[in-house]
């Protein structure tokens, strides 16, 4: 059997100009009174894609999902599903199923009853329903809990029932609103892989809402980063992390050191950025067009910064001197907070690749911070 990864790597319909999107939002706006929850948003999602909507609380993720499920109508714009305009089609006639943030299990029905509910609505024959329910119970490993009521289950079990209930109908699209929000960290990680596995096995299209970026990075083929009802960037997890298109995205995903300055020298392929506030000059690859004198940003991840006691060879660019101000030990890695001479605090992370280090860095040690020209990213937005 092929591994999940080998399939995933090849799956990239968004790069194929021929591929037809399965779900498209076209200039969708949703207003609640005067408040604009979703603002002129366009987005395409492909068949069999695992798509994550990521953003801070209140940025309109749930609203977007609810419009797709049919609980809210867009104020303007349209939503196409498999080429069909969804306007005016009630939730019970849409080929999408949703897993609710609160699970919304029917409290008066058993686990079996909950899973069978959707199948009964389709008028499926009794023996087929029984077979499908048994299959679903097996899938989510809840066979012995079939006769229990939701309040007799733990949080994780309830979540699995909710999942089984919406998967049972084999919808074309599964919408999951913070599916793992209520689980503890370990169960959460396990379930993330279960979800990915399920999605692959059944060949479904998943749209998952989350505000946990690690979760989005782990599971999704592509991530849409949202802010105040707008999509800021849609890209693969690696792209979003390594090549954010704006200060907002860079700041939102993962840890980052952000510098604001002006492009002082624009060379072929390289740009020098003056950051007077932090008394440092940054030389970086010119991944974006910019002109001399333009104010620009520069983002660099902590793990791409080197720390050393020794002075680097070139201290004119991409280097600064400071002292260790704080050390956060995470087991697998350590994050150092360095206070530069300008007072600015820089985060640098290093992997704890060996168990014991001779003469490790300690509090108040004088250190040099430096990085390569391709370590960070130039931001013009």
């Amino acid at each position: 059997m092929k591994s999940l990864g080998s399939f995933r790597r090849k799956f990239a319909p968004w790069n194929d100009p021929e591929a037809k999107p399965y779900i498209s939002f076209e200039n969708v706006t949703k207003k609640f009174g005067d408040f604009t929850a979703v603002d002129d948003l366009s987005l395409t999602i492909y068949n069999r894609e695992f798509f994550a909507l990521l953003g801070a609380s209140g940025c309109g993720k749930s609203t977007l999902l609810r419009m797709l499920a049919g609980f809210e109508e867009p104020t303007s714009g349209r939503i196409l599903l498999d080429g069909q305009d969804m306007r005016g089609i009630p939730p019970y006639k849409r080929p999408v199923n949703m897993m609710f943030q609160s699970y919304a299990l029917f409290p008066h029905m058993t686990v079996e009853g909950n899973i069978a509910f959707g199948l009964k609505q389709d008028g499926m024959p009794k023996n087929e329903i029984d077979a499908r329910v048994a299959e679903m119970l097996k899938l989510v490993k809840l066979e012995q809990f079939a006769k229990r009521k939701p309040h007799q289950l733990s949080g994780g079990q309830r979540q699995r029932v909710a999942l089984a209930r919406c998967v049972a109908k084999r919808p074309k699209v599964l919408l999951l609103d913070e599916p793992l929000g209520a689980l503890d960290k370990k169960l959460r990680e396990e379930t993330q892989f279960e979800l990915m596995d399920l999605q692959m096995k059944l060949g479904l299209t998943f749209v998952v809402v989350t505000h946990d970026q690690e979760e989005a990075m782990t599971m999704a083929d592509r991530i849409a980063v949202m802010d105040k009802g707008k999509v800021k960037q849609v890209a693969t997890p690696a792209e979003v992390y390594e090549a954010p298109n704006s200060k907002f995205v860079a700041d939102f995903i993962g840890n980052v050191n952000m510098f604001e300055g002006t492009a002082s020298t624009v060379m072929p392929g390289k740009v020098d950025i003056d950051v007077p506030a932090d008394r440092i000059t940054i030389r970086t690859d010119a991944t974006r067009d910019c002109s001399t004198g333009q104010s620009v940003g520069f983002a660099i991840r902590p793990e791409k910064i080197r720390l050393s006691r020794k002075e680097p060879a070139n201290t004119a660019v991409n280097a600064a001197h400071g002292e260790l101000y704080d050390i956060a030990y995470f087991g697998d890695m350590t994050v150092f907070h360095v206070r530069l001479e300008s007072g600015r605090i820089i985060k640098a992370a290093s992997l704890n690749a060996v168990r014991t280090v001779e003469d490790p860095l300690g509090y108040d040690d004088k250190v040099w911070v430096n990085f390569d020209t391709d370590a960070g990213i130039l931001l013009t937005a």
């Binding site: 939730p91 019970y92 919304a104 029917f106 409290p107 309040h151 007799q152």
Partner: protein, 272 residues
């Protein structure tokens, strides 16, 4: 906090409870009195109960009361539940505030006014007064109580249950009968019981709206009392008290059981 009981606390408690229950205790005790005189104890007897059950006018009145109670409580529950649904669900129609307030108004409206206005209505439309007018009147005034009880349950009802049902392919009608109604059922049942008890002991509105052959038990008792209190009436009241008390006790035991069971289930689930 001071947990010892001062003499003052004890005395006020005793007086308070005596004030509440002494009349009822006296009524029950004297229903078993041998003597015809209500104020003189002459030994234990159940003869007044026997004579009560042989008194046709009392038995007829009891039947009328029960029929009116069952029919009016049922219709009041249906209408009250629908009203509560409309008021909690369609939050955007004009004058919703007015309607919400109006559903509470009959709760505080003097019964005399409700009774009189219903009487005027029945006379105006030429509706012969009898058991049906009493039933209609009872539906009218108990409906609001049901609406209030059901409404208080509906405001905490998780709408996502209904959305989940529709998402799984259930039409709005199926959703109502398979999901909404079963979940709010306890409130609907309490509403029904409240309506039934209110109908059972209503005197004022019944007096205004009843006609020949439709005398309810409270009306019968009241008209008897005007001729003098007999131990028979004490017996009738004791039976009413017993019925209500048994109902209340059963309801609270069932409720308690459910809560205990639920807590136990939840603990068991948490251990998994």
């Amino acid at each position: 906090m001071n947990t010892t009981w001062s003499r003052f606390n004890i005395v006020s408690l005793v007086i308070g409870f005596a004030f509440l229950y002494l009349p009822i205790v006296l009524l029950v005790v004297f229903s078993f009195n041998e003597s015809r005189l209500v104020t003189v104890w002459a030994g234990f007897s159940t003869k007044w109960y026997v004579s009560l059950f042989n008194n046709k006018s009392f038995i007829d009145a009891a039947w009328v009361t029960i029929r009116v109670g069952l029919i009016s409580a049922t219709f009041a529950t249906i209408l009250g539940t629908l009203g509560a649904l409309a008021l909690t669900r369609y939050t955007r129609f004009r004058g919703r505030m007015l309607f919400s307030a109006m559903i509470y108004a009959p709760l505080v409206m003097p019964e005399v006014i409700t009774g009189l206005s219903l009487l005027l209505l029945f006379v105006a439309i030429g509706f012969d007064r009898g058991i049906w007018t009493v039933t209609l009147a009872h539906i009218t005034f108990t409906m609001c109580f049901v609406a209030v009880v059901v409404q208080s349950r509906l405001v905490t009802f998780d709408r996502s249950l209904e959305e989940a049902a529709m998402d799984l392919g259930a039409t709005p009608v199926t959703t109502f009968f398979k999901v909404t109604l079963p979940v709010i059922m306890p409130a609907v049942v309490s509403g029904w019981m409240l309506a039934f008890t209110l109908s059972l002991d209503d005197l004022v509105i019944s007096s205004f709206t009843s006609g020949p052959g439709a005398t309810t038990l409270p009306m019968r008792i009241y008209s008897q009392v005007r001729l003098g209190v007999t131990p028979e009436i004490n017996a009738a009241c004791t039976i009413l008290i017993a019925v209500v008390a048994v109902g209340v006790v059963i309801a609270s035991i069932a409720n308690k059981r459910r809560e205990v069971q639920k807590a136990r289930d939840e603990q068991a689930a948490a251990r998994h």
